[in-house]
């Protein structure tokens, strides 16, 4: 049970109360970290992005619109940062699309992998944007509308991305 409600913690954070903000960080850090990892697939990078997400959120706390869930806002910041991270690192190697396509085509089809490993290998080959949508919907328990709010994209686009992600999963699993 959480005896200090989120609204109070937010109000105190806006008054630069670090202890209140630490409590908010504790409440959301693992979920944000797991989501970042689902996108970037690198634990160190995911932790850096998670840390950066909470630092950015602290300084932008006055821009948070309380009509949305705090989690949606935090995941929006985290998703942007994680996708930017991938874009930047992809550019360092080749071009973003080149890298993603190369990853998708060069990997051997997994054999004799456990069901979970097989699934995770395929998820890793999804486009980062599709991985983000899958993570938010399936693993963070968001609705499609919340995913759209988080991604800053129209609901229709989110549904298209999800359909493409699932189509790729079905194709590679079959």
């Amino acid at each position: 049970m959480q005896t200090v409600d989120e609204a109070e913690l937010l109000a105190r954070t806006k008054q630069a109360d670090h202890i209140a903000y630490a409590e908010l960080v504790n409440r959301y850090k693992n979920a944000v970290y797991h989501h970042c990892f689902a996108i970037v697939r690198d634990e160190d990078a995911a932790e850096d992005i998670t840390q950066d997400t909470f630092i950015t959120a602290y300084y932008k706390i006055h821009t948070y619109n309380p009509t949305y869930k705090l989690a949606t806002w935090l995941f929006k910041i985290a998703t942007n940062k994680a996708l930017n991270h991938i874009k930047y690192n992809a550019r360092q190697v080749a071009g973003e699309d080149d890298l993603i396509d190369a990853v998708a085509s060069d990997r051997p089809t997994p054999h004799k992998l456990s069901e979970q490993n097989e699934l995770h290998e395929i998820v890793e080959r999804l486009k980062p944007q599709h991985r983000a949508v899958v993570s938010l919907y399936y693993w963070q328990g968001m609705s499609y509308q919340e995913v759209a709010d988080t991604m800053g994209a129209p609901l229709g686009s989110v549904k298209v991305w999800m359909a493409r992600a699932k189509a790729q999963l079905r194709k590679e699993l079959s």
């Binding site: 049970m1 202890i19 630490a22 619109n65 942007n80 930017n84 890793e124 693993w139 999963l169 699993l173």
Partner: protein
């Protein structure tokens, strides 16, 4: 065929390694360091080197497509009330030995996001060594009230501003003086509101220069004379209402809201680069930026010397202090919800690899009240300290779960000692005395600080 929905739900992708135990502490330390200005000391060269690794983004001026007239028929109008502040009393020596101002305030402060403006009697106190005249103190309070009214623009910035909601559109609210203007451009001398990196200038009517060639670092607080594109729809306000643009003149002091397309600097998470290029709103104002929070615009030695006295949270009969806007600098000595290193002499009682972290503090106190209390330390001995509250004067007995003060003092610049001004966050069991804070009740112990004009901090 396998059911992908079922597979995805059953097998979330998860990291094998959990977040480091110091994660929350690192976040808070980073924030504290940034607030203390240490991160602003990054060299210009470092910024240049990082930018040279970036792809060639050009700074793209925000294009405002709407062709409005040079009247008030621009963006959706925002109206607000002008605060009125009256001095009722000035006492030279309050219960914390400070000069105190009793003011009658009307329509002071923010009125958005469910918050209400301050009305009625308010108390403010002045740091002993600040050397401010009564008139200067009045200016700080008056200007703070007026400046906070500009938060009226926040919902508009979030929802209706061109590009609102896009992560790469940032706004920059500042106060400055118009030095030149024509139909399509305005030149304003002002301080930079937040850190930016961008071209030195964008010549009027010229393509945006190459980012890598023209890059310059503008730290917040730096005074610049910048020429902005004037949005055709830009509104002009005076006295809380829209007025004709023709009322805006060279020499006017204005609060102005400008926007820019900005980019996350991938080489340094959290940094932005880009420069505000287009002005969207003007408010004619008599506010002198020297006396305005946030302190990056004003003079910290002046604006941080004045604090508001308010009832403590959950303890209205006791008094606490509050920054004039949001900057009440502090240093965390102990926090139950942040992983901390334990002193060497502690062994098995609390430790997890010599760390202390109460994950159960909220659960333990389900139904208990959450309080703040502030005051000066009167006694300190190991894990036990006493402080004298303000307002209703009581002696609070506080017990820490380990010697967090000793641990804090090993590394802190400002060591905690008797007579320091601290804030204590704690839970209270209704069946126990309020003035006894047990080691299982305390959520946090914070040393309150004040920022000086040179960016350094002293104890409050």
């Amino acid at each position: 065929m396998k059911d992908t929905d079922d597979l995805l739900r059953r097998h979330p992708v998860a990291p094998k390694r959990q977040l480091s135990s110091d994660f929350t502490n690192n976040v808070i330390q980073h924030i504290e360091q940034r607030e203390s200005g240490t991160l602003l000391k990054r060299s210009l060269r470092e910024v240049h080197m990082k930018l040279l690794r970036l792809p060639k983004f050009a700074l793209i001026a925000l294009v405002i497509l709407a062709a409005g007239t040079v009247t008030t028929a621009g963006y959706a109008a925002v109206n607000w009330l002008i605060p009125k502040i009256t001095v009722l009393d000035i006492s030279s020596n309050n219960d914390d030995n400070k000069r105190e101002f009793l003011m009658d305030v009307k329509d002071c402060g923010v009125m958005v996001g469910g918050q209400t403006a301050d009305n009625g009697k308010q108390r403010y106190e002045v740091a002993k060594d600040a050397n401010l005249t009564d008139e200067q103190v009045f200016k700080v309070i008056n200007n703070s009230c007026k400046y906070q009214q500009f938060s009226r623009f926040d919902p508009w910035k979030d929802n209706s501003m061109p590009g609102a909601g896009a992560s790469n559109i940032t706004n920059d609210p500042s106060i400055g003086t118009i030095t030149a203007m024509d139909e399509s451009h305005v030149t304003i001398k002002s301080k930079v509101y937040q850190d930016y990196t961008g071209p030195d200038s964008i010549p009027a009517g010229q393509p945006v220069p190459d980012f890598e060639t023209f890059v310059t670092h503008y730290p917040k607080g730096k005074e610049l004379t910048r020429t902005f594109t004037l949005s055709p729809q830009a509104d002009v306000y005076a006295d809380g209402k829209p007025v004709l643009r023709s009322e805006l003149k060279v020499g006017d002091n204005v609060y102005f809201l400008s926007v820019a397309k900005s980019y996350d600097n991938p080489a340094s998470f959290g940094d932005k680069y880009g420069l505000p290029t287009t002005v969207l709103h003007f408010v004619k104002t008599d506010i002198d930026p020297t006396y305005v929070q946030p302190a990056m615009m004003g003079d910290p030695s002046i604006v941080n010397a004045v604090t508001r006295i308010v009832g403590c949270q959950g303890n209205g009969q006791y008094l606490c202090v509050d920054g004039m806007k949001m900057n009440m600098p502090s240093k965390m000595v102990y926090a139950a919800n942040v992983m901390q290193d334990l002193p060497a002499e502690y062994s098995d009682t609390f430790k997890d690899n010599k760390k202390y972290f109460r994950t159960d503090i909220d659960d333990m106190h389900a139904g208990d009240k959450y309080h703040h209390i502030e005051g000066r330390i009167t006694k300190m001995d190991g894990t036990h300290l006493e402080l004298r509250s303000r307002g209703k004067v009581d002696t609070f007995s506080v017990t820490l779960p380990y010697d967090a003060v000793k641990q804090f003092n090993q590394t802190a610049k400002q060591k905690l000692s008797v007579d320091d001004y601290v804030k204590v966050d704690f839970y209270q069991n209704p069946n126990e005395g309020l003035t006894t804070v047990k080691s299982t009740d305390i959520v946090g112990l914070t040393l309150l600080l004040r920022q000086l004009g040179d960016g350094t901090y002293v104890k409050y």
